[in-house]
């Protein structure tokens, strides 16, 4: 119960660094202790050997036999609709938010500041109201 995601044939992985950073890929076969044969037909990654170190396992597993051809990987990928499922996960959303934050201009930061201020003001107002009510009751 320590590990929930396993390296297996069909496991979809997110590439965290390297030339294909940020893309999703399916494990087609395991070469040895450190490398897997990996293929991402729907994410623009050619079939190649990839070290496990740069892969981060996702929750998705596809069904295809080991060393299946790219065509079968693509069919399985599209059947499971992995691209859509991925963009719906919190993980992908967090990545997107991080990227947006990194691309912010000064004007965006100003807008964020104003929005945060407004939000916090509303929250404080409600909290003060509740505090007043509870102190009245006491």
């Amino acid at each position: 119960m320590v590990f929930k995601r396993y390296v297996e044939i069909g496991r979809v992985a997110y590439i965290s660094f390297g030339p294909h950073a940020g893309k999703l890929v399916a494990i087609v076969d395991v070469i040895d202790q450190n490398r897997a044969l990996v293929d991402g037909p729907c994410s623009g990654v050619r079939r190649q050997a990839m070290p496990f170190k740069c892969m981060q396992l996702t929750d998705f597993v596809l069904k295809f036999p080991h060393s299946a051809r790219q065509k079968h990987v693509r069919v399985a990928w599209e059947k499971e609709n992995i691209n859509e499922k991925w963009t719906g996960t919190r993980w992908a959303k967090k990545i997107e938010a991080r990227e947006k934050k990194a691309k912010m201009t000064d004007f965006d930061r100003y807008k964020v500041m104003k929005a945060k201020k407004m939000r916090n003001r509303i929250i404080k107002h409600e909290v003060k109201k509740l505090q007043k009510q509870s102190s009245k009751k006491a």
Binding site: D29, V30, I31, D32, H66
Partner: protein, 115 residues
């Protein structure tokens, strides 16, 4: 990557000397490599197994492995034969475990080192 020491023998015997291209570089294969190397006290024959996508890759792995485990430099290693072997013919436990990935087989016996 060219087989460095095959170079030597091929030049001597006048055989093909050039880059070895792989027929199917997108399939994982098991390679058996027969080699001869000079250690500090003598010269020995060895048989080693590696799992890789290409022959050149397996031979590179072999050179690195020999350097790591036996401190053998490339110039003291002569690769005699590289052969792609079927999964059922693999003897080394490291390679055997991986070929049985799809139906994992674990053993409780110590590995045999004499073949």
């Amino acid at each position: 990557m060219v087989n460095l020491s095959k170079h030597f023998w091929y030049k001597l015997l006048g055989l093909y000397c050039g880059q070895v291209f792989e027929k199917s570089s997108l399939q994982v294969k098991n390679f058996g490599i027969w080699l001869r190397y000079e250690s500090r006290s003598g010269t020995h024959n060895m048989y080693r197994e590696y799992r890789d996508l290409t022959t050149a890759g397996a031979v590179t792995q072999c050179y690195r492995d020999m350097g790591a485990r036996h401190r053998a430099c490339a110039h003291s290693i002569q690769i005699m034969k590289v052969e792609e072997i079927a999964a059922s013919q693999c003897c080394r436990p490291v390679v055997k475990v991986l070929r049985c990935l799809y139906k994992p087989r674990f053993t409780t016996q110590r590995p045999n080192t004499f073949f």
